[in-house]
Amino acid sequence: MNRKRLSIPLLAALTAAAAAPQGGPFYNVDKEIRVEATVREIVLEPRYKGTAPFLVLRVEESGSARAFDVEIAPSWFFGQDVHGGEKVKIVGSLAEKPGATPIIIARELQLRGQTYQLRDKHGFPSWQGGPQHKRGARRFGRP
């Protein structure tokens, strides 16, 4: 592994997430689903302690009208504009909790015909030195 690839996640880990306890849903590879939905609301929410707020899409599944909260990425990483009413396709891990809206931690997002890779197949976040970092683009949508 090259030093650059290693140093990015390590630095990020030491500075941002070293003391970031995570007790909520994790990217469970056994619970991966694919959903086609319409965006109803876009919110920024703190998801993990000690990290920047995450872009969360409140969506409604096409056909079933089932609601999901879709965790996309930190706001600094995902620079695309998303509008209410837009159709999206999501591949991600489903986390359900009784009495709460199910959460999908998105791995892949299709928006306006373009696919955005947000995590790898094990759920490793792209903003932590994933393929986008390798290509030198630190966030989507940056000119």
Binding site: R5, L6, A17, P21, Q22, Y48, D120, F124, Q128
Partner: protein, 413 residues
Amino acid sequence: MKRRNALLFFVFPFLGVFVFFSLATVLQHRDLKARTEALVRGQLAATAGILGKTVSRFLDEGMPPETVLDTILADEEIYFVALLDESKDVLAWNSRFEGYLPISVSQVRDDEAGIIESPAGKIFSEMAAVTTADGRRYHLYLGYALTGMEEMIAQSRRTSLLLSGLVLALGALFFRGLYRVQSRYLDKSREAEAERQEKERFREISAFTAGVAHEIKNPLNSLALVLELLGRKVPPETKGDVNLGKAQVRTIARIVDRFSRVIKVVQPDLEPLTLDILLRQAVESLSAESPAASSRIRIEAGPGLALNADRDLLVQALLNILKNAVEASETAPIRVSARRAGDRVEVVIRDEGPGVPAETAARIFEPFYSTKGKGMGIGLYLARKIIEAHGGTIEARSRDGEGAEFRVDLPGA
């Protein structure tokens, strides 16, 4: 050297050595990697065991699972950790990367280590059983960073690559050197063989020429005597024919003499001389044979260029070169210059003839080699022989259509 031999004796052995070395390096690298992984697995199992006991103690003390995991994640080498209940449902987890807990409950087994590839590098995962004092059973799932091991493997790979590069470069240099030495040896051998054959050929020609000269000279002397006597007795109207016969006999005698001179070993009888005098004597000798040709010779040599030489021999050598020049250039002037160069004396004779092609220049001083219809190929050979006997050198230079230049280098006095 033939291409096949070069491949067989140099390129293939070199490639063989390189492939062998590369193979050995790759195998060694793999072995190192396997052994390092085994070592890390062992360490991780031990770490998981120790952490399992720590977790068990904390749980016994009633500490919440989240807090227990926080203390474990303080270790920089641990990327993620999870506490699972007996049925392997995740009770609590923590990770250095948001939401990242690569676990497939359906696949993971107790005390079974796995390697997960991630953009942060390879991660060893290990599931260890934890049992509290009151008999509750848990599973501790750990993700351990292999940065140290990866650094070591990367270092080993870099060293291997560097060594391979060195072997390649040194091998290439060594075999190239060997190839060049071999080529040079073969070239020298070929040259020596060619020289030996040439000497053999010349020895045969010399022996043949000496025999012919000897056999011809005696009857030729008798014939000259008979023609002399005959010339006295014949009527005046026949005397012209007899004189012609005598002239032809003299020509034959001269040719035989020249052949005899060629095969003799040149032994100069040195005396102190000046070059300008030798040059003028050579021109005078030429004017006796061809007054018109000698009038075209321009000598640009100052007096006082002293050297030790055999007068007759060196005049003969210069005469031969001048004759060659006037024959090559029928009307244009022949320029002769001389100068001192250190302890040497240099004479340059330039004509404005058609020049000497490269293939001819290489052979122009060989015996019996001539491009002229009338020539016997002796003049320049004899000139070289005389000059070399004086410790000098002669070389011909020419550019197509720009005449020829003969450069004579002799030791000065």
